[in-house]
Symmetry: C2
Subunit: 116 residues, 2 copies
DNA sequence: TTGATAGATCGACGATCTTCGATATATTGG
DNA sequence: CCAATATATCGAAGATCGTCGATCTATCAA
């Protein structure tokens, strides 16, 4: 499955297909949970990749739940996952965040955000 | 209830409270439906306020459902509602969209987005 | 005032989501 | 090879969401 950030369209795009609307909505939905907002915030503040075990305590959630949220963000294309031994490190995908910024930019009508 | 766009925090804010994380998530959740993405797109393309009855056909939804989606976007603070006789006109709130752009701007750590 | 029309609200149903405990997988150290 | 550890996946329970038909409210025209 393609990451939704790779298929989304700008909010002000001259035309939006059903597929693009769904991908764009899914991108926003991936940020539509307070714990996932906190994950993105923690990754943004730490300039470098962060291990799953370092996220469990600040989020106050069980390990399976943290994995679940990380998977949602990764599937959306916002996060990159990197295996280091038995640890999994996650970091923000800056390209995806640039795309997100273009999606919400109303002056970006002409910007070629969609790619489906 | 305060609009979530008025309480949200930047993704890269130096610190995010539970309340700000919830408001920020709710703002994204309000855009986390393909029909609501289309509504914002239609309002962005039409420079001027749009009547509810003009949205029903392009969305292919029932009138109560369109009202429901418009209420979600309005509650989030993204849309303004204006009564004109027996018609209700909706338009994008450009301040809210500017805030949204600041929320997703990772270089906006210093920007004072939160206000709770 | 009465009838018509626009829009909002209500109640219900099915689908999706968040969360958890239990378990499976994979990697490391001995 | 075995035990320990980190993470992912599974299955279930409860909450939330999108949608609809029915109904309520408000405005206009006659």
């Amino acid at each position: 499955m393609l990451a939704s950030v790779a298929c989304c369209a700008a909010l002000a795009a001259p035309e939006i297909s059903d597929q693009e609307a769904e991908a764009t909505a899914e991108l926003f939905r991936s940020l539509g949970d307070p714990h996932r907002v906190k994950i993105v915030n923690l990754l943004a503040l730490s300039g470098e990749p962060v291990c799953v075990c370092e996220l469990i305590e600040p989020l106050g959630l069980g390990q399976p739940t943290v994995s679940h949220h990380l998977k949602k963000l990764t599937d959306a294309g916002l996060l990159d996952r990197e295996q280091r031994g038995k640890w999994a490190y996650f970091s923000l995908n800056s390209d995806a965040l640039r795309t997100l910024a273009a999606v919400v930019d109303l002056k970006g009508c002409a910007a070629d955000v969609d790619c489906c």
